[in-house]
């Protein structure tokens, strides 16, 4: 297939906003000779370049696939409205940034689905590529359409549109899928044979090979593989040891979010916060050794020229060598004129100490802490206990060490929450402000950022209903009223904006029709608050004849078959039930590095655990 006549594209680009998003050609881009490889993969992040390009997961797969001599990987992103309009008018298909080829020319299209609000964009991208949206409508002429990412731990709402999902970590599975697909295709296997073969790869879920039956009340009565060769459940895949980190990262030519050298220093988290999806699905904890991290920074800076480094993990202060790391980073890189950001720090004076080690390398701006809940009762329910003395000591240390602004993340709508618990958030904010003013005067700024809790699949809270819109609004009103004229800045989400994520994250595959209908009605860029697509989504539910409240506001019985039960994270449902019970009893669960609570991870993955003491796993 021909690549796009460049002149057509150039003429269009002349008239769109920020055309640099669409042309590729960045430093460290990989452009392989199309005919020199067997398999052509297009990696897609279904939002605009500015949001998608910095995604580290995409960079990791791009690096791994392009290191294979027989595979090439290129990139594509969602075009912004202006370019989409032009493309549709001129019948120009969506193209890859590297070779400007239409997506339909690739063998495999791999779409990243890290969160639910990208679903309509994923559909739009297939449509702009001239590829039928429904897996059942595609044939061997079309590319294989697969997805991966954190939202794929419950991919059911997107089951109709994808041929396969990679559940869990894609580093090892993805090249395997690409090669197997090439082998099957070149040996003349038809599409259904290919899908059955793919379903036998550990970690690959082919939704069309499962029959879902529903009971009278709308819940699932059974999920059955259609063929005996298809496994009855799929367990996520993990890499036993974090693979080499990409260092030749693409340096965007236009400004993006998180425009820096991002380095994953640790995967997983041992703290066991009960609301946290990432904390469950990314187990076990695996650390990257400090020497390796330093080498990645060295190589990464040399290869990219970045002026900022982001050391990423779910809980940075829990890395066993974090103090040594910050010291070494300062020693080695303080004369390189770089900033180092270290997000996701625990509430402890130790975290301030870590930032102090970085001294002038830390970026300007405030300090951020995430207590999530303010009352001891709520903290126990969510298993994020926080001693008030420790909290205040940490806050005091932050102000004493020079910060003037402090941002605090809280959630409302948590299970069992009362107005007193919400009031506690307000009280905490005021206490923190008083401490700050006492130490640093009126320049101190406190920012309360309040999110709405959304129950997530695979967590101990997966059975809970979402707070009603009225409840959330009452709680927000209390916070808004209470922060007025206090000098505390409050940011929050309107209750309606959480509904979409609530519906889709615990949805079943019947929601595919709703997503399709919403997209047909014009929903896209749902992650962008500016275009409120809520009326379109409500209309879509109505058109399809499904009740959205069934998905958001229903308390699920503990014995209900949940849409994602056949997709295993390694953490057992029995453990989740037990942890829910503990939450109700007011019992907290300690850091699982200290003591194993038998969540199931070691049963599922113990056999691949590296024996080398140099590879750190959080499990005891």
């Amino acid at each position: 297939m021909q690549n796009l006549k460049s002149i057509d594209l150039e003429k269009i680009l002349y008239h769109v906003e920020k055309p640099g998003r669409y042309v590729g050609g960045e430093h460290n881009q990989v452009l392989k000779d199309w005919d020199s490889v067997r398999s052509h993969v297009c990696l897609v992040f279904p939002d605009i370049y500015d949001i998608g390009q910095p995604n580290l997961g995409l960079a990791i797969l791009y690096d791994i696939l392009n290191k294979q001599p027989d595979i090439l990987a290129e990139r594509a992103f969602a075009p912004w409205h202006d370019l989409e309009t032009e493309m549709r008018q001129k019948h120009l298909p969506l193209f890859s940034l590297e070779s400007k080829r239409p997506l339909a020319a690739f063998d495999i299209i791999g779409i990243s689905l890290p969160y639910e609000s990208l679903y309509t964009n994923a559909l739009n991208i297939l449509d702009l590529s001239g590829i039928p949206l429904l897996s059942s409508q595609r044939n061997s002429e079309h590319p294989l359409i697969i997805a991966g990412g954190q939202a794929c731990f419950n991919p059911e709402p997107m089951a109709d549109f994808f041929d396969a999902f990679v559940i869990g970590e894609g580093e090892e599975v993805t090249p395997r899928v690409v090669r197997l697909y090439d082998l099957l295709k070149s040996s003349g296997k038809d599409r259904s044979e290919i899908l059955i073969a793919l379903s036998q790869v550990p970690g690959v879920y082919v939704p069309s090979l499962y029959e879902v039956a529903y009971a009278q009340n709308g819940t699932i009565s059974d999920v059955m593989p259609k063929f005996s060769a298809v496994p009855s459940f799929v367990t996520k895949q993990i890499v036993p040891c974090l693979p080499p980190h990409p260092t030749k990262l693409i340096v965007p030519n236009v400004e993006t979010v998180h425009d820096r050298l991002s380095i994953e220093i640790m995967r997983g988290c041992t703290r066991g916060c009960r609301f946290c999806h990432a904390g469950i699905v990314n187990r076990p904890v695996r650390e990257r050794p400090i020497d390796e991290i330093l080498q990645i920074i060295e190589d990464g800076l040399t290869a990219t020229g970045y002026e900022e480094i982001g050391l990423l993990s779910l809980s940075s202060s829990d890395h066993t060598q974090i103090l040594e790391l910050t010291k070494a980073v300062y020693e080695r890189f303080h004369d390189r004129k770089v900033f180092v950001s270290l997000p996701s720090l625990r509430i402890a004076s130790f975290s301030v100490e870590l930032m102090d080690e970085l001294r002038e390398l830390r970026p300007g701006g405030g300090f951020t802490l995430a207590p999530e809940a303010a009352s001891p009762r709520m903290q126990t329910i969510i298993n994020k206990p926080l001693d008030n003395a420790v909290f205040e000591e940490t806050v005091r240390t932050i102000f004493e060490h020079g910060w003037l602004s402090l941002k605090l993340y809280y959630m409302i709508g948590l299970p069992g929450e009362t107005m007193e618990d919400v009031q506690a958030i307000l009280d905490a904010g005021k206490r923190v402000l008083a401490i700050g003013r006492q130490l640093r005067g009126n320049r101190v700024k406190i920012h309360l950022s309040v999110g709405n809790f959304i129950p997530k699949p695979h967590t101990p809270f997966q059975w809970y209903p979402l707070n009603s819109t009225e409840e959330l609004q009452t709680k927000l009103d209390l916070l808004k009223e209470g922060t007025r004229r206090t000098g505390i800045k409050l940011s929050y989400n309107i209750p309606d904006s959480t509904l979409l994520e609530a519906w889709l994250s615990r949805g079943d595959r019947r929601l595919g029709q709703v997503i399709l209908r919403a997209w047909q009605l014009g929903a896209k860029f749902d992650a962008w608050g500016e275009n409120d697509n809520m009326p379109l989504w409500r209309q879509a539910f109505e058109d399809v004849g499904l009740n959205p409240d069934f998905y958001a506001f229903r308390e699920r019985p503990l014995d209900e078959i949940l849409p994602w039960d056949h997709l295993h994270t390694g953490v057992t449902k029995a453990f989740l039930r037990r942890d829910l019970e503990w939450s109700k009893q007011g019992r907290t669960r300690g850091d699982c590095r200290e003591q194993c609570y038998a969540c199931g991870i070691l049963d599922a993955f113990g056999k691949v655990r590296p024996v080398s003491p140099l590879v750190y796993w959080g499990c005891p």
Binding site: E10, P19, V23, V254, E255, T304, G305, E307, G364
Partner: protein, 214 residues
């Protein structure tokens, strides 16, 4: 102290996809490319140090630049050949290094010294030579060429220094030189609009920057 700094003037071409990168993005791109060279670069003082780079003139989005210029500073002098070698490795393929010179620190900045820009415009293939010649002559005959630029009106007549229509390998080429001072900056795409030609249908190349002589 200041005399120790080496001021390096780079002439470069901006071609291909990089035509679609705007001025601020280009500046950041240069900063990162320079950092990749590992040369002893000069940074601004202060809490948030920035690389000291100075681009002569913003090239509008979509234009090719054949001889763009920028200055950057080093903490100490380094042989130009070595700088060139490192830059060739670190620059994106579509930013082509053309020339490097050492420049006296006392000389005025590129922006302050810039007088005019010369452009070569390949007109759309369906352009009729006689017709376009007539249209240009018509424009020339008018006392002023007002053009609405955002909120203010500029007179393009004041901004055009010279123009010339020619043919090359079957293509119609409009050469035009326009003022490029901080106060008066001509844009050839505005002139094309007056000719009812969509700039997007043309290839517009800035061929030369002319500076104030000492």
């Amino acid at each position: 102290m200041i005399d120790q700094q080496a001021r390096i003037r780079m002439t470069y071409a901006k071609i291909g996809n990089l035509r679609f990168i705007g001025h601020l993005d280009l500046q950041r791109l240069f900063e990162r490319a320079l950092r990749r060279t590992n040369l002893p670069l000069k940074y601004t003082q202060g809490f948030s140090p920035h690389l000291r780079v100075n681009l002569a003139s913003a090239l509008p989005l979509g234009f090719i630049g054949e001889a763009e210029q920028m200055d950057f500073w080093l903490e100490e002098p380094i042989p130009l050949s070595e700088i060139a070698e490192r830059l060739r490795v670190s620059l994106p393929k579509e930013l082509v290094l053309k020339d490097l010179q050492s420049i006296d620190n006392q000389k005025p900045s590129l922006q302050a010294a810039l007088l005019s820009s010369a452009y070569e415009i390949v007109l759309p293939s369906d352009t009729n030579q006689t017709e376009i010649q007539t249209r240009i002559s018509d424009l020339e005959a008018q006392p002023a060429l007002p053009f609405q630029r955002r909120k203010k009106t500029v007179d393009l007549k004041d901004l055009i220094i010279s123009w010339q229509l020619s043919e090359r390998a079957g293509e119609l080429i409009l050469k035009i030189e326009m003022k490029s001072t901080p106060l008066e900056n001509g844009r050839p795409d505005e002139f094309l609009s007056l000719l009812n030609i969509d700039p997007a249908d043309c290839v517009i190349v800035r061929t030369k920057l002319t500076f104030l002589e000492e």
